[in-house]
């Protein structure tokens, strides 16, 4: 139990460190939000001015923007570990590897949740979608979606952080893995906005939850290998 408490303390310290560094440097915030806004606007222009069409496409646009911008955010959050040998120093601390993963994933989850909530609000305004009436299922979808992107993103950002071509490799690795989560999130959002007429929301949320659990456990179990020589 005390070992678990120790790992939780380590994870929180890493999350706090990442949050502090981001608040100071704003390496991820500005670029990520700008990118999400551009994705939404470009997709909106491509679909044309038909408001019914835009509203029907809103769940897909929402999650494409979140996933695309999320990939950028996860990469940027890991990039601060490249400061003057910081990643090696992190690996040399006498702490459990899964606690390091948990800390980085927790920081990623907080960032992704804030991003997804902001994009959700923007979709509501830009595409005239009533997100307030279905706030509870949308919040559940957003939390599960943010957790999934953070769990996968933390692992693959760890894989690519030492690579020169990391900006290219990270989306190439993450997007195929995120496909089931993207499908679940889009369907859950569509069903929630439609008032869940056929009672299928639970199944889509369960799919997302299962994805999150599998990816988080797999990431925690294997992240340590990424820190090894």
């Amino acid at each position: 139990m005390s070992a678990l408490r120790g790992e939780a303390r380590v994870a929180l310290a890493i999350c706090r460190k990442d949050a502090l560094a981001e608040l100071r440097g704003r390496h991820a915030t500005v670029s990520t939000l700008f990118f999400a806004a551009v994705v939404l606007l470009l997709f909106g222009f491509a679909l044309g001015p038909d408001s019914a069409r835009l509203a029907a496409a809103a769940p897909g646009l929402l999650w494409l923007a979140v996933v695309f911008a999320g990939i950028l955010a996860m990469g940027r959050l890991h990039l601060l570990e490249t400061d003057d040998g910081a990643l090696e120093q992190l690996a040399l601390y006498p702490v459990a590897r899964r606690a390091i993963y948990a800390g980085k994933a927790l920081a990623g989850f907080v960032a992704m949740l804030l991003l997804a909530l902001l994009v959700l609000g923007a979709v509501g305004v830009l595409f005239a979608v009533d997100v307030a009436s279905a706030w509870a299922p949308l919040l559940a979808t957003t939390v599960l979606g943010a957790l999934g992107v953070a769990a996968v993103g933390t692992f693959y950002a760890g894989v690519t952080v030492r690579l020169r071509a990391r900006e290219v490799m990270l989306p190439l690795l993450m997007l195929p893995v995120l496909a089931p989560l993207l499908l679940g999130a889009v369907k859950a959002t569509s069903v929630a906005l439609a008032g869940d007429p056929f009672g299928e929301l639970g199944a889509w949320l369960q799919l997302m939850l299962a994805f999150d659990v599998v990816m988080t456990v797999a990431g925690a179990a294997t992240y340590g290998f990424l820190l090894e020589d």
Binding site: G25, L90, L92
Partner: protein
């Protein structure tokens, strides 16, 4: 429970913390470092070609040799930053490869890179390190470490704005937060001004006084002479000579393909 010792030397401001676990009674301590035919290859070239060393606990030992001799590689192997290609190494009787997680709680390593976060302040960097090291009385220890390395006045400044020498000082301060029984220093004098050079001398003397084993790689052999108990000279990945009581080496027994040649030695 950890306690701290003030060395009876002329550097009253430096406090080295040690724990009974990390040091133990002098006569009961195993050798701090034992390596057996330790080798590390990079892209097929041996940076370390087969080093067999034994260093008694509590000694301060200089690691000397020209560029590319294998000093940094040896320190990185002992710090568990890289894994051996052949042979084995033990710290306090623990295998650095198979028991790396236990070795890490006993070793403090100052590498060429400082491992600091640019967007955090000096204090925040040490607070983070203290959290990772589970340092007791962390707040007090962080302030003392900042004072010991002369950075109290800059504690609230971002590390991004620090000079190379100040970053080096702060990295040294991080070492003071742990209870390491083995301190590995790679070119600790690099980028430091006269005060900084004196600070490293003080720390070396203080660690020596309280019985922490120190392995220091440096080109400043003259400066280290009065501060160390012995020395190891490396050349082309092999031990070229040892000096001092408690520091021993045996010639490696290498197969032909692992013997270094001038063209195969990694730079």
């Amino acid at each position: 429970m950890a306690h701290h010792l003030r060395p009876q030397t002329s550097m009253p401001q430096t406090t080295i913390y040690v724990s009974p676990r990390s040091l133990g009674a002098p006569d009961s301590r195993p050798p701090a470092v034992v390596t057996t035919d330790l080798a590390r290859l990079f892209a097929g070239s041996p940076a370390l070609a087969g080093v067999s060393l034994q260093i008694q606990a509590g000694l301060t030992v200089a690691l000397l040799g020209p560029n590319g001799a294998g000093k940094t590689t040896l320190l990185r192997l002992l710090a568990t930053a890289i894994r051996p290609s052949y042979g084995r190494a033990e710290v306090d009787g623990l295998d650095v490869d198979r028991e790396a997680h236990l070795v890490r709680s006993r070793v403090a390593y100052l590498s060429h890179a400082t491992g600091l976060y640019d967007d955090l302040t000096a204090r925040e960097n040490l607070q983070f390190a203290a959290a990772m090291l589970a340092t007791p009385d962390a707040a007090e220890r962080v302030e003392r470490a900042l004072a010991d390395v002369g950075l109290t006045d800059r504690a609230a400044d971002r590390v991004r704005d620090f000079s190379a020498g100040m970053r080096r000082r702060l990295a040294l301060g991080r070492i003071l937060l742990g209870n390491a029984s083995l301190v590995l220093l790679d070119e600790p004098y690099a980028a430091l001004d006269a005060d900084g050079l004196g600070l490293v001398d003080q720390l070396l003397a203080a660690w020596r006084e309280v019985g922490v084993t120190v392995l220091v790689a440096s080109h400043a052999a003259d400066r280290l002479h009065a501060l160390v108990d012995g020395g190891v000279v490396l050349d082309r990945g092999l031990v070229a000579g040892v000096e001092g009581r408690g520091v021993t080496s045996v010639p490696p027994n290498l197969p032909a393909e692992r013997r270094p040649s001038p063209t195969r030695v990694a730079s």
